[in-house]
Point group: C2
Chain length 232, copies 2
């Protein structure tokens, strides 16, 4: 039950194509489990779905399920382990003329475009999460796990090379890395993740009214303007 923050350790260990079949089979099993879980949850409600049912639907044993997911709830999170890394890469590669907030907005926009490919399952997933706030919290937790790394990328973009005012002791452990982070990168990362969530929630509540990108851009415009009171 160490949990949430380590459940893609499997893939990241030697991720890059350590060997074809093994890697592919693991990805397939993992995908089968998540898809089975989401489809079952869409039918009968997330709380009614047991690990046994999911495992059976995916054609593996219950024990194998727990080899892939630390807990039952984790299977409903469905986070792409490499998504965070892509966003950070895009952030660092963005034109230097952009403000941090703009660069972050564009990086997230690009990532969202890629996520649109699994459209159908994604929507089903959203439906499940709406009915089970409990699981939505887990998803937030997954995003939270990426937050510190995103903050580090932001800090790197602002001050390439890592030069920072103040004491520059060499930081090794995770704990130390968190302490070394400035307030601004942490805040920007956290606010960006929040902005993404609010955009998603608001758009999900009225999907027909506007396309998602418009909501997303309005949110970032509000942030850039300092969250002014809207005109009466």
């Amino acid at each position: 039950m160490v949990c949430i923050f380590a459940y893609h350790a499997n893939m990241s260990e030697k991720s890059a194509a350590s060997s074809g079949l093994r890697e592919r089979k693991k990805k397939a099993t993992r995908a089968a489990l998540t898809e089975a879980a989401v489809r079952l949850a869409a039918e009968q409600g997330a709380e009614k779905v047991t690990v046994e049912a999911i495992s059976a639907a995916a054609g593996v044993s219950v024990r194998t399920f727990f080899n892939y997911f630390e807990s039952r709830d984790d299977v409903f999170v469905m986070t792409d382990a490499e998504s965070g890394a892509r966003v950070r890469r895009k952030l660092l590669d963005a034109p230097p003329g952009l403000t941090p907030l703009e660069a972050l907005r564009d990086a997230l926009t690009a990532e969202l475009a890629e996520a649109e490919q699994q459209h159908e399952l994604w929507l089903l997933h959203a439906e499940v999460l709406r009915a089970a706030p409990h699981l939505l919290v887990r998803l937030l937790g997954a995003h939270l796990a990426d937050e510190t790394e995103l903050a580090e990328a932001i800090a790197e973009r602002i001050r390439p090379g890592g030069a920072r005012p103040g004491p520059t002791a060499p930081a090794a452990s995770d704990e130390d890395r968190r302490k070394e982070l400035d307030l601004y990168p942490r805040l920007l990362a956290a606010v960006a993740v929040t902005a993404l969530r609010v955009s998603a929630e608001h758009w999900c509540a009225r999907p027909e009214e506007r396309v998602f990108r418009d909501v997303f851009r309005e949110v970032f415009a509000l942030l850039a303007a300092g969250l002014p009171a809207p005109p009466a």
Copy 2:
């Protein structure tokens, strides 16, 4: 396992002094359970603490534990059920000259001052949560539950009486209430909660450097300025 979002239903039902001893005893039992849980967790790590141990330390049966908390993890959240209501009240009572962001900042500041009273246990709690990110996520979930209500209060402050542009169909259910909310109040509420969290995390990482209120005010200043890139 319905969870997280309802675990203070007990007290809010008839909260206001339905009868002296009963109410006091319930509060005492609940407090004893949370305090026992936090102290045990501080000693041996949150994951090692069983419900049985907590119940024993608090002098009640295991079954009684589950009368107070929907799940084992909930005991570590330690959220004051009335805190959200106080913040909303303060927000609505704030001087009309303040911007929404300023009013929210002051309301939260005032609430934090009250929370300082349980200083010692609060710090112990922070220590436990740092070692168990899993539980920190639960706390975020608790805050998330307050978020929608906070957003409603913000909307009310902006437009007293609830007059909003667009279709004004009477909204009854919770689902409908969420749909009716504008983007701005939702965003402001979410960002404020996030700002609070980041402030707390940053301060906890370097408690000796600055007092908490200073960190908190800097965060809100950054938000009001539109999150500009910090000076090199």
